[in-house]
């Protein structure tokens, strides 16, 4: 009896799932706007990487919102952790020679790789957020390898603010060039070269520095509290 019931329920479930899925046109072009991005993306924005052309051009305003969310998260974390009363640093076992030496050696290369990722955001996969995260991971490695080394919070806050302000100023300059917010006023250049895609590389440099400084700051705050 129970088995028959479970079989019936299973059939009803399968039918329901089938009805829902059968209406979705898998493999066929879903929306007209998607095709538009793919066909006109390079021509209109100059960015070879279609994802970047959407994220920073067609939906640039959305990205500004994402940057703001990260900023708020960092701010909130700082505000919560600042109220913690007894800031006692736990006993830290000194890292071994392998970790210390390797992280001293690798740190510059991680920073440069992060810069490479956000500078080539319009050409290759990656971009400001990814590059910034790589830079922050370099700082995290340095905290693990050389715990006595700390970043200067003030200079990082300055870089973070400058990055955010640069993003908004570049956006506002679009108005003066006779367009709208985040109007791509610079020449698009030859596709597939570094100096192409107008304002996209500039914005990604700003985002990369901002995200990197912000996340390194978050790591620093958390280390302080641990």
């Amino acid at each position: 009896m129970r088995k028959i019931f479970s079989l019936i329920i299973l059939i009803i479930l399968a039918l329901g799932v089938y009805i829902c899925i059968s209406e979705i046109p898998f493999g066929k072009p879903g929306t007209a706007v998607g095709n538009y991005y793919i066909e006109k993306g390079i021509e209109e924005t100059g960015a070879v990487n279609i994802v970047t052309s959407i994220v920073l051009n067609y939906r640039g305003f959305d990205t500004l919102g994402e940057v703001t969310i990260l900023f708020l998260a960092s701010l909130g974390l700082g505000a919560i952790l600042a109220t913690v009363q007894n800031k006692t640093r736990g006993v830290i076992t000194p890292p071994s020679l392998i970790l210390t030496t390797a992280c001293r050696f690798l740190f510059p290369f991680i920073l440069m790789f992060g810069a490479y990722i956000f500078l080539h955001g319009h050409l290759t996969p990656g971009g400001g957020f990814q590059g910034g995260a790589i830079i922050a991971s370099g700082f995290l490695l340095r905290y693990l390898g050389c715990p006595q080394k700390r970043i200067r919070q003030s200079s990082f806050v300055a870089i973070e603010s400058l990055g955010g302000i640069a993003f908004i100023i570049i956006g506002l300059l679009g108005f003066t060039a006779g367009g709208f917010f985040l109007f791509n006023f610079l020449p698009k250049g030859v596709a597939n070269t570094l100096l192409s895609a107008g304002i996209i590389p500039l914005i990604y440099i700003a985002i990369g520095l901002k995200v990197g400084a912000e996340m390194a700051g978050i790591i620093d705050t958390l280390i302080e509290e641990s």
Binding site: S96, L97, I98, T101, A102, R104, F105, F107, P108, F109, L111, M112, F113, A115, Y116, L119, H120, C146, T193, L194, L195
Partner: protein, 165 residues
């Protein structure tokens, strides 16, 4: 003086990595690479103080390439050895931790040696304390640290001593 040397050293290394990453000689990308490498090495070359990087020279570069080849061959050989131990029905393992001494002086040389030992399957560097390397070994062989060091990393150490002399 050593600061300036480290700065130049790091700048050249970063530039080489940048060229490998972009794999192009376009003037725009080269200029960006120079700017980024300069900036990064300005801020971080202080961390290279006392690391003991070898002074460059054609002989040392040749030996560095030889080192990579030897390392690759050792890794392949050790892979087969470990695969044999895993697949053998009796699983002939005799794991243990051994301590060996190294004659290498520089920190970076010790770390390269330790990482090479870790990269070859079957041996794993747990820690470095002074001149002593703590190594976990899947099949402990030999008597005394000298013989064991010869089995584990004799080839590596010989080349490294030439590079870092």
């Amino acid at each position: 003086m050593e600061k300036f040397r480290n700065f130049i050293y790091l700048f050249i290394l970063l530039m080489l990595v940048w060229l490998a990453l972009t794999s192009s000689l376009e003037p725009q990308k080269l200029a960006a690479g120079v700017i980024i490498s300069l900036g990064v090495s300005l801020f971080t070359s202080a961390g290279y103080l006392g690391l003991g990087l070898p002074s460059p020279g054609i002989r040392k570069i040749a030996y560095s390439i030889l080192y990579l080849i030897v390392l690759l061959i050792e890794i392949i050989k050790a892979n087969f050895d470990v695969a044999y131990r895993v697949l053998h029905p009796k699983m002939p393992i005799k794991p243990g931790i051994v301590v060996i001494k190294t004659k290498l002086k520089q920190d970076i040389a010790k770390v390269i040696l330790a990482n090479s030992i870790t990269l070859t399957p079957g041996t794993f560097t747990l820690d470095i304390q002074g001149d002593n390397l703590l190594i976990h070994w899947i099949y402990v062989k030999g008597e005394g640290w000298e013989e064991r060091a010869q089995i584990i990393c004799g080839k590596f150490e010989r080349i490294l001593r030439i590079i870092f002399e």
